[in-house]
């Protein structure tokens, strides 16, 4: 395909602003003088503009699964619309594989969308006048693939999402969950490198959802796409994410690994998300390693790197002194204090 900078992150977002309303760009430029981002946002709001995304900065590494979480209306969908340039950001820059996408020509954009980007929409965005198979094959049609090839590939991805046999139905005849799977299948049809998913599993019942999440992790393990995934569901985020970004009122308040989000929330808003999460099952011992290794540790219950807090705690229930943490080869690379372990787990109850 096109030459891309392999060392660059898959997606790099810098100081991205999306302001809705009339004359947003000049208003934002004027407001810049107001000071920090909060002051700018306030000034914009006073002018009845909506700063839906504010000064967003983050990178998604190649092959990384990046989850965006936040309350309804916090700007998640707007964020991926900006990145995929479905809407024109008011200010800032977005690079995809090092290429400044905001400068890309119309032709280049079409090319990128045909071959590189895929998107699953929050409300599915299925074409009402096409059958399921035609919906799924539509991106292939845009690529100029032949009819037989399109049909074959459509059936293949439909099978992947468990919709075999429904290929000639129309979207209006499907259930919400089935429609969502058609949306997923459509975005998979051209095998994109970068995949945007806007609450792709929200309309599914828990059983199918878990099944699809597992399927999704499988796909990801083999295909190693770079993914931006939006969800409301903290469990889902923790299960899938390499890193999580939490948004509030258009602002990214924290970016971190699942453990960081669960164990070290920067504020109450973030903490609220993981309130009901049994932390021991998600965080690993690394997240609470002590600074330095004490010289003398009497006990060695066999704590290993990558062990969850729950498992670690059961091993050192009766212990009060720091214990060593070893890597796979058995070398001591750090230590944890059992007291800290218990504290970390208790944080959630308060």
């Amino acid at each position: 395909m096109t030459d891309t900078n392999s060392t660059a992150p898959a997606i790099a977002v810098e100081d991205l602003w999306q302001v809705f309303g009339e004359n947003a760009a000049p208003a934002l430029r004027d407001a810049r003088g107001a000071g920090d981002d909060k002051a700018i946002a306030k000034e914009l709001k006073d002018k009845t503009l909506i700063p839906a995304v504010r000064a967003a900065n983050f990178e998604v590494k190649s092959g990384e699964l990046f989850v965006i979480m936040g309350l309804s209306g916090s700007g998640k969908s707007t964020m991926i619309r900006c990145i995929s340039r479905l809407i024109e950001p008011t200010a800032g820059s977005v690079r995809i594989d090092g290429e400044d996408i905001l400068q890309a020509s119309d032709k280049r954009l079409i090319d990128l969308r045909r071959h590189k980007l895929g998107m699953v929409f929050q409300h599915f965005g299925l074409f009402p006048h096409m059958t399921v198979a035609d919906n799924v094959a539509f991106p292939l049609k845009m690529q100029g693939a032949g009819k037989a090839e399109r049909r074959a590939r459509a059936l293949e991805v439909l099978q992947m999402v468990g919709l075999e046999g429904r290929e000639d139905a129309y979207p209006r005849n499907l259930s919400g969950g089935q429609r969502q799977r058609v949306g997923i299948a459509r975005s998979l049809a051209v095998n994109p490198d970068i995949w945007f998913l806007d609450e792709p599993f929200s309309a599914l019942d828990p059983l199918i959802r878990r099944q699809l999440q597992d399927e999704f992790l499988n796909i990801q393990a083999t295909l190693k796409k770079s993914i931006v995934f939006i969800t409301h569901d903290i469990q889902e985020a923790l299960k899938l994410a390499d890193r999580i970004a939490i948004m509030r009122d258009g602002e990214i308040v924290q970016i971190g690994t699942p453990e960081e989000i669960v164990l070290h929330p920067v504020d109450d808003y973030v903490a609220e998300f993981s309130k009901d999460v049994p932390k021991g099952r998600h965080a690993c011992v690394e997240s609470i390693l002590m600074d330095g290794i004490p010289d003398n540790m009497p006990d060695d219950p066999g704590i290993k790197i990558g062990m969850t807090l729950d498992t670690a705690l059961t091993k050192c229930m009766e212990l009060y002194e720091p214990v060593p943490v070893r890597d796979a080869e058995g070398k001591v690379i750090g230590a944890v204090h059992p007291h800290e372990l218990a504290n970390a787990l208790q944080a959630e109850e308060t």
Binding site: D111, L117, M119, F121, H123, G125, F127, R172, S187
Partner: protein, 690 residues
């Protein structure tokens, strides 16, 4: 606080007038000035002829030159279009009638099952038996050529407006003009451009039918779900692919509604265009028989039009709905039967031309009408005369002139004038005492109108009055628009006729508002009433305008009253529909809240539903106004003396300037009335937070 202060505060409070009462007071001041000084300064009442501009002549010159330039192109177009038209006409006439009946029935079956198949079959068989088959086919040929033209034109305009949002305002204005300029008005320049003949009717109907298509295409495209649009973008489609492969197909339902409206408009216009004559179609037939007062045949021919309209309407409306696939074999079977009947009719030598199976009916209708008018003639006359002498006439020329000894039993004198104003003053004082300043002032203004009549209103009263209403309903911008547009009519020399149009349309709208409002209220209160009224409304909205004239003529002969009735029949429908719709669509929780507060059925109706329905009802009124103006021109065919008649005159005399000026004047009246009412509807909607 001292007593003096208290008094001044009270005085201040009394002096803060609402916007409405300020405007009313202003108009009253104008009225008083004109009434008192009008006798001394004639120019205050009547615009001096010296100051009128020969707008019609200018138009003739301006447009004439313009038309001359385009004439060759237009004539070439005429030449080109006449081929497909003749061809389709030939085809429809050459194909044996059983085949056409079979094809329509089969189409009906495919899109709507047994119901539409039956409609198609019985409808067309009726046409066969009336003996108007070939005229009917000629009309259909015109429709068949003009509709594709209108569809393409409309779709192109709609897509253009969607793709270039900056053009949307201009396009909408253009569509407004295309729909409010009376249909006859653009027949004149078209006649000059395209030459005499059926092609003019075809073009006129394409122009008239394109706007609904354009509007629906635009609306449909705008309503396509954002995510569907975005999914097409993310699939990497080019703009053209997005539009033609995703957005337009996704908007199909709305577009099909446009197709339906387009078909109906084209049919209606093709029939209207028959006044040009020269083409043996069904509209011409109606016109001819009507002119000769042959009511039976006129009734039959009119029924053929109605049958066409109903078939076209129901079938194309069914296209917009999602439907189950039908058994193809049944359709093939129908066609086979059609073929068999064709062969039989060839051998038997039976053709529908000259069939007079229905002439008995026609005769019976004729006789029936004859007997009816003979028996009830005096009743009909007294209905007509009562409404004329005590309603329409005083409204037109004022009590001062309309009250005559031989109708009212006494002559109007200064004494009566004094009594009228005295009574008005008394009522208005009572109203002021109750704190209702606007109403009080309105009573005085109405007394003035009652005294001298709409046709004699002083021009400052009309223009500044419209401006004042505009100011209340939509602010300065609307006020300016109303004043400027109406002033154009004033200086064009068509003012008197415009006032007559205003009077006739106003009277009809008023009658429709009262009757339609009551019927709407009744259908909102009772489902049975709506079950009866609904098919009637559907029917009245389906039949082409022209047809309304037939029954009216039968019973009331030519004249203003017949025109008035025809306008009312057509224009009352939206009032009924919107009133009912507004009243029944009040949100349930509001009704429940009212019921919980112990409100009775009628209390709920007037205290809760009515205010909530006000914006919808106002929109209905708005539609009624537009309908009334549309019908006004058609009604001019049966004897009115207003602008509509000028337009006819122009048509007869080939007078481009007069046709366009009178048409524009009519359009201005409709447009100003439309904007004023819309302003109020908008204001109400915002007040309710809708």
């Amino acid at each position: 606080m001292s007593a003096a202060e208290a008094v001044s505060v009270r005085a201040e409070r009394k002096l803060t007038l609402t916007k409405g009462s300020q405007a009313a007071l202003f108009v009253l001041a104008v009225v008083v000035t004109c009434r008192l000084l009008g006798a001394h300064f004639e120019w205050l009442v009547k615009w001096p002829a010296a100051l009128t501009v020969p707008m019609a002549d200018w138009m003739t010159w301006l447009v004439g030159g313009f038309l001359d330039i385009f004439k060759p192109i237009a004539r070439a177009f005429t030449f080109l279009v006449s081929y497909p038209m003749e061809w389709v006409g030939w085809l429809l006439n050459a194909v044996p009638w059983p085949m056409i009946v079979a094809v329509v029935t089969a189409i009906g079956w495919m899109i709507g099952g047994i119901r539409l198949a039956a409609l198609g079959f019985f409808g067309l068989m009726f046409v066969v038996f009336t003996g108007y088959w070939s005229q009917g086919m000629n009309t259909l040929a015109l429709v068949a050529v003009s509709v594709p033209l209108a569809l393409v034109m409309g779709a192109a305009i709609g897509i253009l407006a969607f793709e270039y949002p900056r053009m949307k305002g201009a396009v909408n204005a253009l569509l407004d003009v295309m729909q409010t300029v009376p249909t006859f008005a653009y027949l004149v320049p078209l006649l000059v451009l395209f030459g005499f003949g059926p092609v003019v009717g075809l073009i006129a109907s394409a122009i008239y039918a394109a706007p609904p298509m354009a509007r629906n295409v635009l609306l449909g495209l705008e309503r396509v779900d954002t995510e569907i649009r975005e999914a097409a973008v993310m699939s990497g489609g080019t703009r053209r692919q997005q539009l033609f492969l995703v957005e337009l197909p996704a908007a199909t339902q709305q577009i099909m509604i446009g197709v339906n409206q387009c078909l109906m408009a084209a049919l209606s216009m093709v029939i209207i265009a028959a006044v040009i004559g020269g083409f043996d179609d069904i509209g011409w037939e109606v016109l001819q028989t009507m002119r000769k007062a042959l009511f039976g045949p006129a009734f039959l021919a009119g029924s053929v039009i109605v049958v066409f309209a109903i078939i076209i309407d129901r079938m194309s409306a069914a296209l917009a709905e999602p439907r189950q696939p039908q058994d193809r074999n049944v359709a093939l079977g129908i066609l086979a039967v059609g073929a068999a009947v064709t062969i039989w009719s060839l051998f038997a030598g039976w053709s529908p031309t000259g069939v007079a199976a229905m002439d008995g009916i026609a005769k019976r209708v004729d006789e029936g009408v004859g007997v009816f008018t003979a028996t009830y003639g005096s009743t009909l006359d007294s209905v007509k005369n009562t409404s004329m002498f005590y309603g329409l006439l005083p409204l037109r020329i004022g009590l001062a002139e309309a009250v005559l000894p031989f109708t009212w039993g006494f002559a109007w004198t200064v004494k009566h004038t004094a009594m009228l104003y005295g009574a008005a003053l008394l009522i208005s004082l009572i109203l002021i005492f109750k704190g209702r300043v606007t109403a009080a002032v309105m009573v005085l203004i109405i007394a003035y109108i009652a005294e001298i009549g709409v046709a004699h209103l002083a021009w400052p009263v009309v223009i500044l009055g419209a401006g004042a209403i505009g100011w209340v309903s939509g602010g300065w911008k609307l006020a300016r628009l109303a004043v400027i547009l109406l002033s154009l009519i004033l200086i064009s020399g068509l003012w008197e006729r415009a006032l007559l149009s205003l009077y006739l349309a106003g009277a009809a709208v008023f009658a429709c508002a009262v009757i339609g409002g009551l019927l709407g209220l009744w259908s909102a209160m009772s489902t049975t009433a709506w079950m009866v009224l609904r098919p009637i409304c559907d029917f009245l909205q389906t039949i082409p305008l022209f047809v309304f004239l037939i029954p009216v003529l039968m019973f009331f002969q030519i004249g203003e009253f017949s025109a008035f009735i025809a306008i009312c029949m057509y224009a009352v429908v939206p009032m009924i529909r919107y009133t009912r719709h507004g009243l029944v669509s009040t949100p349930d929780e509001i009704i429940e809240a009212a019921t919980a507060s112990g409100a009775g059925k009628w209390q709920t109706m007037f205290e809760v539903r009515a205010p909530f329905a006000a914006p919808t009802i106002l929109l209905g009124l708005n539609q009624t106004i537009l309908y009334a103006f549309a019908m006004l021109v058609i009604a001019a065919l049966i004897g009115t003396t207003e602008l509509g008649q000028s337009i006819f005159l122009a048509l007869g005399q080939y007078d481009v300037g007069l046709g366009i000026t009178a048409g524009a004047a009519m359009a201005i009246l409709a447009l100003v009335a439309d904007r004023l009412v819309q302003g109020f509807a908008e204001e109400r909607r915002q007040a309710l937070g809708l």
